[in-house]
């Protein structure tokens, strides 16, 4: 039976599933319900100096797929709007009542050393096992010189991380914003500042939609809208990429990562771990479906690990990272051709029109003797792009088949057609 216990940035957890710092971890009532449901830990909703911030209403906008399911949400919420003392008292109580769970204190302050240090110390004294620096909010707080305003300035990332490191002797997580050009730069800065781990990603800056009747972005506050933070399953690809970028960079590869961004299922979590994350954090999925989803996350991850023979998270952590390379390392002699299973085909024509209009005109339609249409791939035209397979609505109907020949591997740097070829 798989063992989900793990260690993230030096903090031991019964499983890799933590709540991210956000409304689900805003107060004792929520976190207690989350722990009861099985979550291994919670990063408390970000706390700042008193007086607490004031939030706007409304706060959320959503991006839906055609079937009306939410693929991403955007928020213009600020940090905790409850007094610091109340939060500290609740953390102390939970610490006593749930000794086997992780509570990480998330903090945010202006560029003022004492403010960062005071907050960190208060949270450590309340019983937090680690401190997370929120350098990410891309809305509101950044206009006050906090959040992403710090996260986007590597020297400030380094400085604030160092201040907190100096103040407390528990692990320090620096939470990075994705709203930068190269995630490795702030990651390096966090490392220089002494972070035990980096948490990423915070939300992606966004306008979620425009209300065309009222001509205003949503969410709309008294007739006006502003940009906010985008999260949920839509941002998962962005987060996955940033995790691998940090862990493949020679300077930052030793950093530990608490991965965040669009994680909704055990499979999402396993993908982040396969790319090297030590644990994961979840916000949107819990907000949309409630804490009970963790049951399947635990169960599903155990089942997956059992089926693969992985006993611990470490057994597969980073296993996909080895197979993640630069484009220049790809074999350009590798050749795939699409194959359409005529028995499974329901004759919708989606593959045809996708290839015909926008790809390589590699699918032919023939009339079937008894009526109906037969779709066949013209191998000489097919470039193996996979588009047809992706648009096909029948699972397994289009297969990409490898053309086996004896051509050796050739990459771009040594490809005959590369004018700058290294011989």
């Amino acid at each position: 039976m798989a063992d989900l216990r793990c260690r993230i940035g030096g903090v031991d957890s019964i499983n890799p599933f933590w709540l991210a710092s956000a409304p689900p971890s805003d107060k004792k009532y929520n976190v207690e319900r989350a722990f009861a449901a099985g979550w291994g830990g919670a990063v408390w909703k970000t706390l700042g100096e008193d007086p607490p911030v004031v939030n706007a209403s409304s706060r959320y906008g959503v991006h839906k797929d055609g079937a009306g399911r939410i693929v991403g949400i955007n928020n213009i919420e600020l940090i905790s709007d409850r007094p610091l003392d109340v939060n500290l008292r609740e953390i102390e109580e939970l610490r006593r009542e749930w000794p086997d769970r992780v509570i990480i204190g998330s903090i945010m302050a202006p560029i003022d050393e004492q403010a960062w240090k005071d907050l960190a110390i208060k949270l450590a004294n309340a019983g937090c096992q680690g401190i997370e620096l929120n350098l990410g909010c891309p809305h509101g707080m950044c206009e006050r010189g906090m959040g992403s305003a710090i996260g986007q300035a590597p020297d400030l990332v380094e400085k604030t991380t160092r201040w907190v490191r100096e103040a407390v002797d528990i692990p320090v997580f620096t939470k990075l914003t994705p709203n930068i050009t190269d995630i490795v730069v702030p990651a390096e800065a966090a490392m220089r500042g002494g972070a035990h781990a980096v948490s990423l990603i915070n939300t992606v800056n966004s306008i979620i939609s425009v209300d065309l009747e009222r001509m205003v972005p949503t969410p709309t506050v008294d007739g006006l809208g502003t940009h906010g933070g985008y999260c949920g399953s839509a941002v998962k690809p962005i987060a996955l990429n940033m995790v691998q970028a940090i862990l493949r960079d020679p300077e930052t590869r030793s950093l530990e990562i608490s991965a965040i961004g669009g994680i909704s299922t055990w499979r999402d979590a396993a993908e982040f771990i396969a790319l090297g994350a030590s644990g994961v954090q979840v916000c949107t999925a819990a907000m949309l479906m409630g804490f009970r989803i963790v049951g399947d996350m635990i169960d599903g991850l155990e089942g997956f690990m059992d089926s693969q023979g992985y006993q611990t998270i470490e057994d597969f952590r980073g296993k996909a990272l080895r197979n993640t390379v630069d484009w220049n390392d790809l074999n350009l002699n590798f050749d795939l051709k699409a194959r359409i299973d005529h028995d499974a085909c329901i004759e919708c024509g989606r593959c045809f029109i996708a290839c015909e209009d926008t790809s390589h005109q590699a699918i032919r339609i023939d009339a079937k003797p008894g009526g109906g249409r037969k779709f066949t791939v013209i191998d000489d035209e097919c470039v193996g792009c996979n588009l047809c397979q992706h648009v096909c609505p029948v699972a397994g109907c289009i297969e990409m088949v490898e053309v086996r020949d004896d051509r050796p591997k050739v990459t771009w740097p040594n490809h005959p057609k590369n004018p700058l070829r290294v011989a």
């Binding site: 079937a67 009306g68 329901i346 004759e347 029948v394």
Partner: protein, 446 residues
Amino acid sequence: MALRPAESVGGFLTREQIERNFADLHPPLGCAQAEIEAERCLYCYDAPCIVACPTSIDIPTFIRQIRTQNLQGSAETILDSNILGGTCGRACPTEVLCEGACVLNARGEEPVKIGALQRHAVETLMAEANGHPFTRAPSTGKRFAVVGAGPAGLAFAHRAALLGHLVTIYEAKPKPGGLNEYGLAAYKMAEDFAQKEVEFVLGVGGISIEYGVALGHDMSLEQLRADHDAVFLGLGLGGVRRLGVPGEELRGVVDAIAFIEAVRQAADKSTLPVGREVVVIGGGNTAIDAAVQAKRLGARNVTLAYRRGEAQMGATEWERDLARLNGVAIRLWAAPVAVEGDGRVERVVFETTELVDGKLRGTGEMVAIPADMVLKAIGQVLIPPGIEALAFNGDKLAVDADYQTSLPGVFAGGDCIATGEDLTVQAVEDGKRAAHAVDRLIMKRG
């Protein structure tokens, strides 16, 4: 054709029960339901459903327009191909047309509810329209006569008006719509939809209707030809076939068509006469509609008797299921030989039949089914008044590829010619195509 009522008049069900029984068979989709259903469409390329629709509506496009909340555009896509898309969405036997061709069937799933989506788009537009969605071409100065305000006549008139011609429709009945108004089952056409739709169609302009004038009685083809640049006949099938068995004249033996017409026209259906023991004779959709409506009016036992097997029935599987769900007993392999009774019908005698070498044969075995009402639904025929001069093809009017009859300048479409099935949607297609053909010939275009 007057309805000769059975003597047991109504009274089996309360008025409220009957009202409920004749409400919409499938209540319309709401916007949210429609968008979810629309999302199921795979947006096929060169889709099989388009081919299966007699009017070739661009179904994937109109469904996508529902998805993008472009309902006006969606309705226009439908109406551009089929101006009676509203009725068709309610009444088409989609299981053998568009929905039967939906590729989701091949994936082992329910097809997209194309009919319900079509209805949603069209009825939303009809409810919200700021005027008719299409604009007429400049006037050509040509005047066309249309005989019959059924689906074929209306579709012809609408398309001809769009093309810039002036149209006068001559209709024998007091109301327009043809079988949309007098024939389709009441629970398919709830809320007086046929009349609302005609009003919408006429919104294009350039069409006038004269009621209570019948070709062959009040006017002649010659007269119409003399007064107009072209004549289009959308006569439908006005006659009904006779059983040709003894006792057919007994009280209580009624044409199913007349019975349905009475149901459609009754302001208060609870006052309608219906038998306790009803026998419907026939195997087509008319027989099913008559049987189900008799049951919903409160008949205790309704038996639908057909002389062949289920596979030979004209009624689709969906309609047979509907009948059974409504408690109609379907009796196969039974051919009527006599209607018996003392002044009024008391029973129908059937001989059981079998197929021998592909030929239907009586077995000699007789079965009597008690009946106080018999509904005859063994087919409609074209009745000739006024069209004696025209050539026939079998029992329907002969037309060429341009829908022109044997008399130059006289065109025809709908049930009175033999294009496809006798369906509303086919009548619409005939009318539309005939209008384009006439336009081309008269205006000497291409």
